[in-house]
């Protein structure tokens, strides 16, 4: 009798596991990196045109917001312009007992935006770090006019904020750095401010000047172009990622497979980023 009950319980468990795991998801939600919003929306738009039965909903908010949504189960895909942190991975492990799935889906260069009227046109990585950490405060210290540098940056939930901090600033941002909600707002602020400087995705640099970046004093300066980002000569290049809780199935899998296909990858260049394949 006892064995029969255990058998029934085990069978029930197996059936429920398989049943719940293959539950069809009609709508795929994508949330996260603001840098990736335009690209992601474009992917969703083209994919839905080709697959009218699919519904892909894309929102931004920042990489941290997307990854938090992935952990709390409110999104299927998290877009992130930085690799997942070990603390976020631990939370995924705790909640879903998986290591998550990381999909590098595009390449991007972080542009240093400068106002077109600014005489400075190239900086070393070290100088950029010192500018954003507040150690260099005046344009004349980097070959410009005698004027205070105005800093524009992202909120801490942004993947670009984290990537730029970890790889360029390497310490805390200057308290005078004005945080703005999105890369477009940074570009807009720099466009209006003759002595402003900001950072963000290469795709957004409209109406501002892309500052050339030198790895160090002796290296040549490179602008963020398709070629320099692809061949990694532009020093601030990175991957853009999609993260999932577990290996995708159904509509989510079909969407991701399409993104990684030549058709999906071809769309990347049209919005200013670079394919991974």
């Amino acid at each position: 009798m006892k064995t029969t009950k255990i058998k029934i319980a085990v069978i029930l468990l197996v059936v429920m596991t398989i049943g719940f795991s293959f539950t069809a998801i009609e709508k795929v939600t994508v949330k996260g990196s603001d840098t990736m919003v335009i690209l992601s929306q474009k992917w969703a738009e083209v994919y839905m045109q080709k697959h009218p039965e699919a519904t892909i909903q894309v929102t931004g908010g920042g990489s941290g917001v997307g990854l938090a949504a992935l952990i709390n189960g409110s999104t299927d895909i998290a877009n992130s312009s930085r690799p997942i942190k070990s603390s976020e991975l631990d939370k995924l492990k705790q909640r879903y007992n998986t290591l998550g799935v990381e999909i590098p889906c595009a390449k991007d260069g972080i542009s240093i935006y400068i106002n077109k009227a600014n005489g400075v046109s190239e900086l070393t990585l070290k100088q950029i770090g010192q500018i954003f950490s507040g150690q260099i405060k005046n344009w004349k210290e980097v070959g410009g006019v005698d004027a205070s540098i105005k800093l524009y940056g992202r909120e801490s939930s942004s993947g670009t904020f984290v990537y730029f901090k970890d790889n360029v600033v390497k310490t805390d941002y200057s308290p005078s750095c004005q945080t703005l909600p999105g890369t477009a707002a940074i570009v807009n602020a720099v466009k209006k401010d003759k002595f402003g400087i900001g950072y963000g995705g290469a795709a957004y640099a409209e109406g501002v000047k892309d500052c050339k970046v030198k790895k160090d004093d002796k290296s040549p300066a490179y602008a963020p172009t398709a070629e320099t980002i692809k061949n990694k000569t532009y020093p601030i290049s990175r991957y853009l990622y999609m993260y999932l809780k577990s290996r995708p199935t159904g509509q989510t899998k079909a969407f991701i497979d399409w993104i990684l296909s030549p058709e999906g990858q071809n769309i990347i260049a049209t919005v200013g980023y670079f394919p991974v394949k």
């Binding site: 070990s86 492990k93 007992n97 799935v101 310490t171 809780k245 577990s246």
Partner: protein
């Protein structure tokens, strides 16, 4: 006619002049208005900067917490069965079910500056507030590898560091409660995490602690009661095989400590050694409290995620009934070679459900078994814990769980009426609602 023309010209000139004066007045007025608004904007800007600065300080404070409220049903078969009773009545009134508030905790973390963090976690219960975590963490800014903890923190052990708010089973294992009473310790802990800087998924921990946390009267836990410090070491390596959807964390830990005899009674208190032979320790003698453990956690992305977690600990534990330093979960005058292990299986079912089964064993005296066991403290326990968790949302989860402890049977009367040739009836069914923020 000339007069009329002159009058019109004069009127026109006057009107033109009047319009000019009016224009000047409007421009002047606009200028004043712009100046006034500019000043207002400057004032607002200044206020906004102050508020921004205040807000930036506030965002450095992180508050989290959780409440676990539950309804328990206790196994009542057999009058001498379970341990839940109202002791003040004669005979004790057996309580068969009860509402119970297991946890009410709030955790405050404040990142004062880059690399400096304060953590404070009080635990609230009906009659008191006690301190669970209170420590300062200093993270090295340069290599991003080392962290130094000072204060009261979790002992380095996988099960203990896994928060009660996240743990899948209703309770931790029996061994965790006996070996690490109260989970925390007072001391210093150095952690090295080589993942961030060197991309080496290795974590090392070294803690030097008083070794008397949750032992004896609370007043005696504020400081060390002897001059001996206990040392805990742990190493964990994380292996990731993303193409297979597999992650394996494995490692080991060691506890090197002692129980010092602080006083003797008259007549003298006799202790029992690892071979159950009596001996009389003198004041100042140190009894062994040393063990080593191996741990593994396997995560597999199979139909939504599954995990198998296990730990094996073996060594020597010592205890004393001296009220200054007694362990309420090992309240004996003895030294014992013990062994413990557990295996936990967790399966995520869809996004909202989770099935959990754990088997844990605590053998306080691995040198004897069955009818050789002459007292309850040497009985081995095997416990099944089965749970089903439903995640209502990110903040709320419900755990339906059943715990079935099974003790070793002995025919010797010394083990007590609850245990002579039988398994003490102490199973518990629980419905727990947890709200976390």
């Amino acid at each position: 006619m000339k007069k009329i023309t002159l009058a019109f010209l004069l009127l026109g000139a006057f009107m033109a002049k009047a319009q000019e004066v009016q224009k000047d007045t409007i421009i002047q007025s606009l200028k004043e208005s712009i100046d006034e608004h500019s000043m207002k904007f400057s004032g607002l800007d200044e206020r906004l900067s102050t508020m921004d600065s205040d807000l930036a300080k506030l965002t450095k404070i992180k508050v989290s917490g959780y409440i676990q409220a539950q309804y328990d049903v206790y196994d009542t078969w057999g009058a001498a069965g379970h341990g839940i009773s109202v002791a003040s009545t004669t005979p004790p009134t057996l309580v068969t079910n009860s509402f119970f508030l297991r946890r009410a905790r709030i955790k405050f973390a404040y990142e004062a500056a880059e690399g400096v963090k304060f953590v404070l976690q009080p635990d609230f219960s009906f009659d008191k507030v006690s301190l669970k975590d209170a420590y300062v963490v200093l993270n090295d800014r340069w290599t991003k590898t080392f962290s130094l903890f000072l204060g009261q923190f979790d002992r380095p052990n996988y099960e203990l560091e896994y928060s009660s708010g996240s743990i899948e089973t209703l309770e931790r294992t029996r061994a965790a409660g006996i070996l690490y009473p109260g989970e925390k310790e007072l001391g210093a802990k150095l952690e090295a995490n080589f993942e961030t800087k060197y991309h080496l998924p290795l974590k090392l921990q070294l803690a030097v602690v008083n070794g008397n946390f949750n032992l004896g009267a609370i007043g005696n836990q504020l400081r060390d009661i002897d001059n001996n410090k206990d040392v805990i070491v742990r190493a964990v390596y994380s292996l990731k095989l993303p193409s297979s959807g597999l992650g394996i964390d494995f490692g080991g830990h060691g506890y090197l400590g002692s129980t010092q005899i602080l006083s003797q009674t008259t007549p003298v208190t006799v202790f029992s050694d690892v071979n159950s032979v009596n001996f009389t320790p003198g004041v100042g003698d140190k009894l062994d409290k040393k063990w080593y453990g191996a741990e593994v956690q396997v995560y597999y992305d199979f139909l939504g995620g599954a995990a198998l977690k296990g730990e094996y600990i073996s060594g020597t534990i010592s205890g004393t009934t001296n009220a200054v330093q007694n362990n309420s979960n090992f309240n004996f005058n003895r030294v014992r070679d013990f062994r413990s292990f557990y295996a936990t299986f967790i399966k995520n079912i869809g996004v909202k459900n989770q099935f959990i089964a754990r088997y844990d064993v605590w053998d306080p005296n691995r040198k004897i078994s069955g009818n050789q066991v002459a007292n309850a403290g040497d009985l081995k326990y095997s416990t099944w814990s089965i749970s089903w968790q439903y995640f209502f949302d990110d903040n709320i989860k419900i755990n339906f769980g059943y715990i079935l402890p099974t003790n070793e049977k002995s025919s010797i009367a010394g083990v007590g009426t609850d245990f002579v040739n039988r398994d003490k009836k102490d199973n518990t069914f629980t419905i727990r609602l947890q709200a976390k923020f």
